[in-house]
């Protein structure tokens, strides 16, 4: 078990309440400094704790500890007030925009309905089909938006500078110099969260930004990640990070294009790899 996974949310909560020994405290704080994912977890757990306090869900002992840790300085008090105003806004906004629940009917409305059953049934069926189609489309769209957001977040210049845990890195070879035997196979273990691919750019013209389009061979979707920077550490290359849950067994293709000053796509290199689970 690595250091990060052995730190549970419950332990983080105790840490934030000042309820851990010195050894655990140092372990958590060291990870907080050097591991961005752990930093996010600590701050997220802190937020949960603040919410629990504002909802009066803490035990008296935890409340006492909470107050001595989170309501000491004017800055902390201000943070609590701001969080409270965000929560209050969301709760009141949500309750005012919620649809009014349907009232129980005694059936009189149906009896008064003037249309014949032969008309009502096909219309109702058509409405149901339309709702199902819309729901499927919306679900697919939401999934796509979530993946696009995650891909963009993983590949910001700031994220690319960090080395997150549970990441595997592989070098791919551009299609223009690759022989058919050289396709890289990546084994996706349970311990891998992020796959980093290094894409050498062998063309003579260099660009300040690149776009990578990722698609699964035989699949019907592709995802484009824009504004990727290039690096020149001995070899001119672009790094691309993909979340492991995005990748499934099969062949993948990446099309990397330079983005011209005018914003259009320049020449393209192709890279292929296989995912084996």
């Amino acid at each position: 078990m690595n250091d990060e996974t052995s730190v549970t949310d419950a332990l983080l909560r105790q840490y934030l309440l000042g309820n851990v020994d010195d050894e655990q405290r140092q372990r958590i704080e060291s990870l907080f400094l050097i591991d961005s994912f752990m930093r996010e977890r600590v701050l997220g757990t802190e937020q949960d704790l603040i919410e629990d306090y504002l909802e009066d869900s803490l035990t008296p002992t935890d409340k006492e500890r909470f107050l001595s840790h989170f309501a000491q300085t004017p800055k902390q008090q201000r943070k609590l007030r701001i969080t409270k105003s965000i929560k209050d806004w969301a709760v009141s906004e949500a309750s005012s925009t919620q649809p009014i629940p349907a009232k129980a009917t005694d059936g009189s409305g149906i009896r008064a309905w003037p249309w014949k059953k032969s008309v009502v049934v096909p219309v109702a069926l058509a409405i149901i089909v339309a709702i199902v189609v819309a729901a499927v489309w919306l679900n697919k769209r939401n999934k796509r938006l979530a993946i696009e957001q995650e891909l963009a977040q993983l590949n910001t210049p700031v994220s690319l500078r960090e080395v997150p845990p549970q990441m595997t890195s592989r070098d791919l070879t551009p299609g223009t110099v690759r022989s058919s035997q050289q396709e890289i196979e990546i084994k996706k273990g349970n311990d891998i969260r992020i796959v980093e691919l290094r894409l050498p750019w062998v063309q003579t013209e260099h660009y300040s930004r690149y776009q990578a389009e990722v698609l699964r061979v035989g699949g019907d979707e592709s995802f484009a990640i824009r504004d990727l920077p290039a690096e020149n550490n001995g070899q001119y290359a672009v790094r691309l990070r993909l979340p492991a849950h995005f990748l499934h067994r099969g062949h993948y293709l990446i099309r990397l294009s330079g983005i011209t000053a005018g914003g259009s796509l320049g020449p393209t290199e192709e890279y292929a790899f296989t995912i084996a689970e």
Partner: protein, 194 residues
Amino acid sequence: MARDLALPPESFEEILVWLNSDRDVAASMYLQLRDDLTKIFTMNRCSDPEWLTDETFDRVGKKVVVLRQTYKGDPRLYFYGVARNLIREDLKKVKTQASLEDIEHRAQDIEFKEETADLREECLQTCLEELSAEKRDLILNYYAKEKQAKIDHRAELAKRLNTSVETLRVRVHRIRNSLEKCIEQCLDRKAPRK
């Protein structure tokens, strides 16, 4: 507390080089490290987190030339070692602690500061308008329910977005963090501290 010494420019440059050979990366690591150390001092209930962060950089700055040659490992952990010493020194100094009554009294102040509630509300609305519709909806949905109901609600929301509750929490935290900073800046502009 006012500081007698600022970090000399040459030490600052040495620290940047020690953190990372790429100056842009080093600059962003430096800023993050400052924030993180201040947070750690705060979490350890130190008396003046910002001052202690400055002091950490000063102490490291005095040795950084040698450290660059001799220290093995992540430089940020060396900063943490110095910060731990400062935490111990600070805790020895701070003997007086607020009583529970004082703390409760302060907590009540939080709830009854009606005079600033309108201003906070105004800033909240201004900052919400600066968020994209997608982010605003996510915040609204995430905080829509309270207590027990919120657990199921957030699990459902995560499922709908095809992500985990953990990832959703991190995503909301980032948005809320920027929203809070915006509100703080707005409050500072409209009601500057004396």
